[in-house]
Amino acid sequence: MNWRLVLRQAPALRVDGRLLSPAHLRALAVDDVRRVALPSGRDRIELGEWFDVLPGEGDDDVLRIDGDLSRFDAIGGGLHQGTLHVRGDVGDAAGLGMTGGRLLIAGDARDLAGCAMRGGWLEIAGATGDLAASALPGDIDGMVGGTLVVRGRAGARLADRMRRGTVVVHGDVGDFAASRMVAGTLAIGGGCGAMPGWGMRRGSIVFAGAAPQATSTFVDVQSDAGVFWQLLARDLVRFGPPFDDLPRRRMTRLAGDLAVQGKGELLVTR
C-alpha cells in the first residue's frame, strides 16, 4: 500500500529521514507506519509524533510527503527504487547515497543534496545549498552515478569530486563548481561563480547561460569536437530550456585544469 504523510508540526531537533522511503513503508500497516522510529538527536521518535498517515493514491511505489521538512536530513537517503515525492523544503543531504528510484522535491534542499549519489534521479524544483553531488567528508569520490536536476540555483562546491553521472542546474551556481571533478557532466543554465572546474582532472562543464571567468589553467582548444558536442547536446535537450537548443548552438572548448591532469573541459555555448 502506498502512503501519504502530512507533517503536523516541525520537530524541535533535526531528524534523520532516510527511513521515509516508499520501499520501507509500503509493506507496513498504518499503525506500523506511525510507529516507524526516526533518529532525532540521541533519541528515536515515532513518525506518528509529527505526521498524519493517510492512504496514498496510484502506484504502490510512490510515497508522498507534504510539509516543510527542512529539519529532516537525508530524505531519500539510500533510496534504491520507487518514487519519493516531497511537497515542501528538505534539510541537508537529500538523496544521500541513493542508488535508484526517483526523489522529487518540490521546494528547496539544503547542503549536500545528491551527495555520494550512485544512481537514480533526484530533482529539486527550488534551490540547493553547497556541496550538492559532492563527496561525504573523507570520501574520495563524490557523485558516481545517476542524475541530479536543480531547477533553481545551486551553492558553492557543486559536484566536488564528482566521478560519474549528470548534474543539471537551471539557475546560477556558486564558486568552485565541479572542483576536483574526476569525470561526469555538469550543465549550468545560469551564471557561474568563481573558479569553475578548479582542479578538475576529467569531465565536462557545459555553460548554457553566461560564459564563465575561466582561470589561466584552462586553455582554448580550437580543433573540431562537433561529433562529441552533438552527442552531449542532444543528451541534454531532455532537460528543457535553456538546454533544449544546445545542438543548434556553437560551442567553444577550454581544456583543463592544467594544474592537474588537464583532460577536463569547459564547454561554453553561444
Binding site: R202, S223, G226, V227, F228, L231, R234, D235, K263
Partner: protein
C-alpha cells in the same frame, strides 16, 4: 515437385540452404556522405566470403542526418562471421584501419545495446590515443574520444553481436552474359531496398559460385561445376539445359531469417517482373541437400503469386 513458371521464368523446386552466423550493424557518420561512403566502402572491402576474408560485410543503406546519433549523414554496414571471436577481430581491424583513418568519421553501434552480447568497438581502439583519449557516458552508453589530426575520432565503446543468417542465394540462369548481368543488377537493386540484409560480393553478384570440397586435398571449396555452362556437356552433375550460357549468383546475408527471405523474395520478384524475354529464364538455388544448414529458403514459396504477375 514441378517447376513453377512465372512470366516465362522457371522457378526451380529447390531451396537455398543457409547457416547461422554472428552479425552486427555499425553506423559510420562523417562530415558529408561522400566521406562516410569512403569509410564504409573501405571497411567492407575484401569481405565477400568467410572462405578467405574472415567475414562477409556490405553496405546496408545510407542514413540521413536525422537518423544518426550525431546528426551527420551516415552509412549503415553489416558484418557477418562464422564465430563471434572472429567477428570481434574483424570489427576491430576494419574500424581501426578503415574508419578511424578516414577524415571526419565517427562510428556507432547500429543495433540497440540490449540486442545481443556487446563486443569491443572503440574499447581497444581508444589506446591509439596514447593516454590522451577521454570517454563520456550518455544514459549508460560509453563513447571514446581519440585525438586525431583533424580533431577527434569518436567511437561507441561496444556494439552488440546478434545471431545472423548467412548464405541465402539465388542462381540466375540466363541466355547470355548481357542478360545475366542486367537481370542480376535489377535483382540486386531490388534486394538492396530490404533492411537488415546485404549482398557481400562485388556489385552484389558472384560468378564463381562454389561447392563444398574439392578433388584437391586442403581446398575447402571449389567451382560449382553443376552450374558452369562450359561444363554442361561434361560434368556428370550438371544442372544446366540447352541455351544457358551464363549463370550468376546472388548471395545474401541477413540479420535474421526474415531479412534473408525478404531479400530473396524481392530478387525473385524483380526477375519475374522482367520476364523470360529479358534473358534470365530460370532461377535456382544452391544447397547441400538440407543436411548442413538449418535455414531452408524454398524458392517457390518466395515467388510472387502466379496471378499477380503481368
Amino acid at each position: 515437385m514441378a517447376a513453377l513458371l512465372l512470366n516465362g521464368v522457371t522457378i526451380d523446386p529447390t531451396f537455398a540452404e543457409a547457416f547461422p552466423m554472428k552479425a552486427t550493424r555499425l553506423v559510420i557518420t562523417a562530415h558529408d556522405i561522400a566521406w562516410a561512403r569512403h569509410a564504409a566502402v573501405s571497411a567492407t572491402g575484401l569481405a565477400t566470403s568467410v572462405i578467405a576474408c574472415g567475414c562477409e560485410a556490405g553496405i546496408e543503406c545510407e542514413l540521413g542526418a536525422e537518423d544518426t546519433p550525431d546528426g551527420r549523414p551516415g552509412i549503415a554496414i553489416l558484418l557477418f562471421a562464422m564465430a563471434g571471436k572472429e567477428l570481434v577481430k574483424q570489427i576491430e581491424r576494419r574500424v581501426g584501419q578503415c574508419v578511424m583513418t578516414c577524415p571526419t568519421t565517427a562510428v556507432f553501434a547500429g543495433l540497440p545495446p540490449d540486442a545481443g552480447e556487446p563486443v569491443a568497438l572503440g574499447r581497444n581502439l581508444r589506446f591509439f590515443g596514447d593516454g590522451w583519449q577521454i570517454s563520456k557516458v550518455f544514459q549508460g552508453v560509453r563513447y571514446w574520444r581519440v585525438p586525431v589530426m583533424d580533431g577527434e575520432f569518436v567511437a561507441q565503446e561496444s556494439a552488440p553481436v546478434v545471431k545472423g543468417v548467412g548464405g541465402g542465394n539465388l542462381l540466375l540462369l540466363a541466355d547470355d552474359t548481357d542478360a545475366a548481368l542486367a537481370g542480376a543488377a535489377a535483382a540486386v537493386a531490388a534486394m538492396r531496398q530490404v533492411r537488415g540484409a546485404i549482398m557481400p560480393f562485388p556489385g552484389g553478384v558472384v560468378r564463381s559460385g562454389s561447392k563444398v570440397g574439392s578433388k584437391y586435398a586442403g581446398l575447402i571449396a571449389s567451382t560449382n561445376d553443376a552450374f558452369c555452362p562450359s561444363l554442361a556437356a561434361l560434368a556428370p552433375r550438371s544442372e544446366l539445359g540447352e541455351g544457358v550460357r551464363c549463370v550468376l549468383e546472388i548471395v545474401i546475408d541477413g540479420l535474421g531469417e526474415a531479412a534473408v527471405a525478404d531479400a530473396m523474395r524481392a530478387g525473385i520478384a524483380a526477375i519475374v517482373e522482367r520476364g523470360a524475354h529479358a534473358g534470365v529464364r530460370r532461377i535456382s538455388a544452391g544447397n547441400y541437400g538440407g543436411k548442413l544448414g538449418p535455414f531452408h529458403f524454398h524458392l517457390q514459396a518466395l515467388a510472387p503469386a502466379a496471378d499477380g504477375v503481368p
